[in-house]
């Protein structure tokens, strides 16, 4: 029954995202047609033409009917047409999504591992001057805007040293699937993944450090020591096993932030993911595209969080039923 409640909660999130998407063009200042067509086209339209377009998009129906149309459309994969690409938004976004997921996947794995390992080690030295120094350093790194870090990485490794490419995801001359293609993509992944990992690791580090410190201060640790459990086992079996719970939760909550970071980093590296669509959408005033990106982003994050929530009972016996 627990999972039913979790699924219901996430369904509510999706409903909220859909409602928001539906309401925005209707609530925002300006003509709803202005969000659908380019300005120059609108300026030349006659009143009849406008009415015809409104009817074509179903904008003359009552709001409830419009909402029903919109929702059923979304479930049928219809997110409208992108002005910038002249193609269905769903196709445009779906084509880009794997590139973003590739970037996020690596950054997620690296930051979770690195942040946990370093944070847990830092918890052993709580309160020492060196620990305070490290904490300030990590906070400073976590405070740098991710796109700025990305720009500096390009300056150093591409412009100055010339070691790594800074543009796109795919080598121009390689055949997709060939060894050279894979190597080229890997080479182009390094800098964006590094930028994203740097930004993301700070948060995991702080969580891991405090979770471990809290676990180490618990009475059950004293009891484990009183039993004669060796320090190594106290650390791993008793403290880290408990600290893993908040770390897991926090990493899964951080997915939304990671996605945001990926969107911004992509624009710096011209990475062909959905982040690039955002910039193009903003430039071209392509509202359908922006809404599509928002919806797909919500869907991905919600799906990932749902998975995390449903697997959480595997590591925490207290919420098992």
């Amino acid at each position: 029954m627990v999972w039913l409640r979790v699924v219901a909660a996430y369904a509510a999130v999706l409903a909220l995202a859909l409602t928001l998407n539906f309401a925005l063009p209707r609530l925002a200042p300006g003509d709803p047609l202005g969000f659908l067509l380019p300005e120059d086209v609108l300026a030349e339209m006659s009143a009849e033409e406008e009415a015809r377009v409104l009817a074509e998009f179903g904008l003359d129906k009552p709001v409830a009917a419009q909402f029903a149309d919109y929702v059923s459309g979304v479930f049928a994969g219809d997110l409208g047409v992108s002005l910038r690409y002249g193609a269905p938004v769903w196709e445009v976004v779906a084509g880009r999504l794997p590139w973003t997921l590739l970037l996020m996947g690596w950054a997620l794995a690296l930051s979770a591992l690195l942040g946990t390992a370093l944070g847990v080690m830092a918890a052993r030295r709580q309160g020492e001057m060196r620990d305070i120094g490290t904490t300030v350093l990590v906070l400073a790194i976590g405070s740098a805007p991710v796109f700025w870090v990305a720009m500096l990485l390009i300056t150093l490794f591409s412009a100055r040293l010339g070691w790594l490419p800074s543009f796109g995801a795919v080598p121009l001359m390689a055949v997709p699937g060939s060894w050279g293609y894979v190597a080229g993509v890997a080479e182009r992944l390094i800098l964006p993944v590094t930028a994203l990992t740097i930004a993301q690791t700070a948060g995991v580090w702080l969580t891991a450090r405090s979770a471990m410190a809290v676990a180490l201060s618990r009475d059950y640790i004293t009891v484990a020591r009183a039993k004669g459990v060796p320090e190594r086992a106290v650390f791993w079996r008793h403290a880290l096993r408990n600290a893993a719970l908040p770390i897991y939760t926090n990493v899964s909550i951080g997915l939304g932030g990671l996605l945001g970071g990926a969107l911004v980093v992509e624009t710096v590296f011209s990475w062909p993911g959905i982040g690039q669509l955002v910039v193009q959408g903003v430039e071209a005033r392509d509202y359908n595209l922006l809404q599509g990106v928002f919806l797909v982003a919500t869907l991905s994050v919600v799906a990932a969080n749902l998975l995390a929530d449903l697997t959480y009972p595997l590591i925490d016996p207290r919420v098992r039923r």
């Binding site: 030295r125 709580q126 405070s143 805007p145 412009a159 039993k227 922006l290 990106v293």
Partner: protein, 813 residues
């Protein structure tokens, strides 16, 4: 705004270092603010004027060079800082205010309202943050106002959960209940009690939002969603990126400075917030081994401390304690709070908190000085030869491992190959059902958990048991069962037991010898019977004099009683779960079932029963805090209402008086709520304090409650209850949280107030011996009913109900 007194921070060097970190953050932020406020006037160019060639390199006139359209970059950065910082701080102010108001309202209202509000917060928080902000900004247009509005719209949700959780705790706090009982309105309680207590948590939330807002503003502007007419650090970087400045030398003066400034302001905020939110936890425990000296003499002692001195920094917790524990004996270590008894007990296993240090002396175990053992030798001794039964088994068991595995581990780490079988046998011995082997601690009751803790302690067949308050927090009847079990098992195994406790009557019956600790010194030791009659030290004498025995002559005998001040007739109270609770599957609870009871003026009626028996509900009904679902209750002939002629003294003075309040403010609160004038309040407060034999000068009235001792606080709580001249006093275990030696004194003041004012007192307690001596009549409650009722002596000598009999047995055992 009321000044906030944070709980006294532990005096540690790292605490100061953390405050240093915080101070550094504040200085950094102030410098940045000064720079962007004053800076633009010091640069001779406006930020948006073309004053030099495009892409000009830095020069004396333009220290940071110029951008592509020939605008001075230094001027741009200084002006841009105003926008970036203003967006951050304004957003944080608005969003924190919304979050705080919603959190308090939601926690206060509770029920369905709360559920809906929290679901909404969760839903908004689950949306991916940046895409949401992007799509909102795109639709509402690019301007600084829209940016602030959009950021507020999204960021207000972040602190709500945490603030609400705290507000809920504050709502359930005794001092909130106390204010409600005085007739305080929701607004009064929310603004005077909850908000000030919440403030220390609001600060880090503000900082966190400002942090997120500044970073998000820069990201939005960088994506081209910034206000095209207002420069900010993010828009400067947007243009730098659009002109690929990072591929040329221009990165040094165009890309680096704005990013550094964003990072600096965000790190300044992070430092401020970090110092507030961080709580230091224990690090490693292993104390530095000291070089041992040779043991003075060989004895038959199982364990012996010699001149043991332990200190926390400059404070000495245990000083020069020499205590010998003979093989096979059970010794009780008695002391009041702060006497150092737990520190001493844990020092035997060298498991004190990290701040504690053995300064001098030895702990002899056989030929070894535990204070000087190597970590590995110490480890092989812990659990195997000296084992610990910890206080509060609730927290002592690891929540993620099954209990069977936790028992088995204690044997396995010492090389027992049959650890699993052993664990099963031990579970049977401590009377835990076999099928609980794979159960987790949260699936067990408090008593069962304590049994697991005993099994863990016995798993590796130790010779010595250290039991640190092993029954604290358990129900009276469960306490007896656990102590019986412990006694039987240690006797069968011939164990040496050191039992740490503050419960003198219990330990007097259980231990062959007592050691009495006061302020870290061992003041006296001896057999309980001897100490009871011929103690030499005044502290021991006071301790034994304060023990109320069931078989001694009644201490307080009162004459006639007056008019009825409390009458309950067939009173029933059912707690309905509310719609939200019912959705979760909660059932209504019958807390009181047709209870009839009277209290007359000048009379003390004892209400005795275990936890959950309905004692407190009866008191709350008399205060008018819960409405009867059946029958009736009257106080001085009227239906009760908060602020009426009944007043309450709560069990724990540390919780019933808000520590940050001033003494005069706390005692005068019932009168302030009733609308009395300040001068009248002052007079009445002084009189009430004098009656409670507390100081009543201006200086004392201005002192914070937090600066008073437990005994003083409970007197203060009684003064607060008496200040509005009630007819009926509801006293909920007013002595149970106090040290033994303070209890008699408090009862004496309570008795004096009763006698002079002709008060009727309903005295709630779980201690039958105390009730017998202090009360004229006793009503015994079990599961919402009064099962036994009569004169105090009659109840104790000829109990009519089996529950009363078992309570008597627990009090005598």
């Amino acid at each position: 705004m009321t000044e906030i007194a944070l709980p006294a921070p532990p005096v540690r060097r790292d605490g100061q270092a953390l405050r240093g970190v915080q101070k550094a953050g504040l200085v950094l932020l102030a410098t940045l603010l000064a720079l962007v406020v004053v800076g633009p006037w010091l640069v001779p160019y406006p930020a948006d004027a073309t004053v030099c060639a495009g892409f000009a390199r830095p020069s004396l006139a333009h220290p940071l060079g110029c951008n592509d359209v020939g605008q001075d970059l230094l001027a741009g950065i200084l002006v841009g800082g105003r926008v970036s910082l203003a967006v951050g701080l304004i957003t944080a102010t608005v969003a924190t205010a919304i979050a705080t108001a919603l959190a308090i309202a939601s926690a206060w209202r509770g029920g369905l309202w709360d559920v809906i509000a929290m679901r909404a917060v969760d839903a908004v928080m689950a949306l991916p943050f940046l895409p949401l902000v992007i799509v909102l900004s795109a639709f509402f247009g690019a301007s600084v106002t829209v940016q602030i509005a959009v950021l507020c719209l999204v960021l207000w949700t972040q602190p709500v959960r945490e603030l609400r959780a705290q507000a809920q705790a504050l709502r359930a706090a005794d001092y909130t209940d106390a204010a409600r009982a005085m007739g305080g309105s929701s607004w009064h309680i929310c603004t005077r009690h909850i908000l000030p207590e919440l403030a220390p948590l609001i600060v880090p939330q503000f900082v966190r939002i400002a942090h997120a807002a500044i970073l998000t503003e820069s990201a939005l502007s960088f994506l081209g969603l910034g206000d095209p007419t207002a420069k900010s650090w993010g828009t400067i970087l947007f243009h730098a990126n659009a002109r690929t400045a990072f591929l040329t030398d221009a990165w040094v003066w165009w890309v680096l400075p704005p990013g550094l400034l964003i990072a600096t302001s965000v790190v300044a905020l992070a430092l401020i917030g970090h110092g507030v939110g961080d709580r230091r936890a224990d690090g490693t425990v292993a104390a530095t081994p000291r070089t041992g000296t040779a043991r003075p003499r060989g004895t038959e002692a199982a364990l012996e401390t010699a001149g043991l001195t332990i200190s926390y920094g400059d404070q000495t917790a245990v000083s020069g304690v020499s205590l010998t524990i003979a093989r096979g004996e059970t010794i009780g270590l008695i002391g009041e709070s702060g006497s150092g008894k737990s520190t001493l007990a844990m020092a035997i296993l060298r498991l004190m908190p990290p701040a504690a240090e053995i300064r001098d002396g030895s702990v002899w175990f056989g030929a070894d000085d535990i204070a000087g053992l190597s970590p590995e030798t110490l480890r092989s001794l812990r659990g195997r030869r000296i084992a610990l039964i910890p206080q509060a088994a609730m927290a002592a068991l690891n929540p993620v491992h099954p209990i069977g595995a936790q028992i088995a581990e204690a044997a396995r780490v010492h090389g027992f190959t049959d650890a699993i079988d052993r664990a099963r046998r031990l579970m049977a011995e401590v009377n835990l059902p076999e099928d609980r082997f794979s159960a987790y601690p949260h699936e067990l009751s408090g008593g069962q958990r304590q049994r697991v803790a005993i099994a863990i302690a016995l798993a590796a067949e130790p010779e010595v048991l250290i039991a640190d308050e092993p029954t604290t927090g358990l129900d009276v009847l469960v306490q007896k069962a656990i102590m019986d079990l412990l006694a039987a098992l240690s006797h069968a195994r011939g164990l040496t037991v050191l039992l740490v406790t503050h419960d003198l009557p219990m330990i007097s019956r259980r231990a062959a010898r007592l050691a009495i600790l006061q302020n870290g010194r061992l003041v006296e030791e001896g057999a309980p019977e001897d100490l009871a009659t011929t103690a030499r030290h005044p502290h021991t004498q006071a301790l034994f004099a304060s023990v109320l025995r069931l078989d001694a002559p009644k201490r307080w005998v009162r004459e006639s009683a007056g008019q009825t001040v409390l009458e309950a007739r067939d009173l029933s109270v059912t707690y309905n779960a509310g719609l939200a609770g019912r959705l979760r599957g909660a059932h209504p609870v019958d807390a009181l079932k047709a209870v009839s009871l009277t209290v007359r003026a000048g009379e003390v009626v004892g209400l005795v029963g275990g936890s959950g028996s309905g004692k407190t509900t009866l008191a709350r009904a008399a205060l008018g805090l819960v409405r009867p679902t059946g029958g009736l209750v009257t106080v001085a002939g009227e239906p009760p209402s908060p602020g009426g002629p009944a007043a309450m003294v709560f069990q724990d003075p540390y919780q019933s008086l808000r520590p940050a309040m001033a003494v005069g403010e706390a005692v005068g609160e019932p009168l302030a709520i009733a609308g009395h004038s300040a001068s009248a309040i002052r007079e009445d407060v002084r009189a009430a304090l004098a009656e409670m034999r507390l100081p009543h000068d201006e200086a004392f009235l201005a002192r914070r409650v937090s600066s008073l001792s437990g005994g003083q606080r409970q007197r203060l709580a009684i003064a607060r209850a008496l200040v509005a001249a009630p007819r009926l006093l509801l006293a909920d275990e007013p002595t149970s949280m106090l040290d033994q030696s303070l209890r008699m004194d408090l009862l004496a003041t309570l008795e004096a107030a009763r006698a002079t004012r002709g008060l009727g007192i309903l005295f709630v307690t779980h201690d039958l011996a105390l009730a017998r001596h202090f009360c004229d009549r006793i009503a015994v409650m079990e599961a919402g009913r009064i099962v036994d009722h009569g004169a105090a002596d009659a109840i104790c000598q000829t109990p009519a109900h089996p529950y009363t009999t078992s309570l008597l047995a627990a009090a005598e055992a």
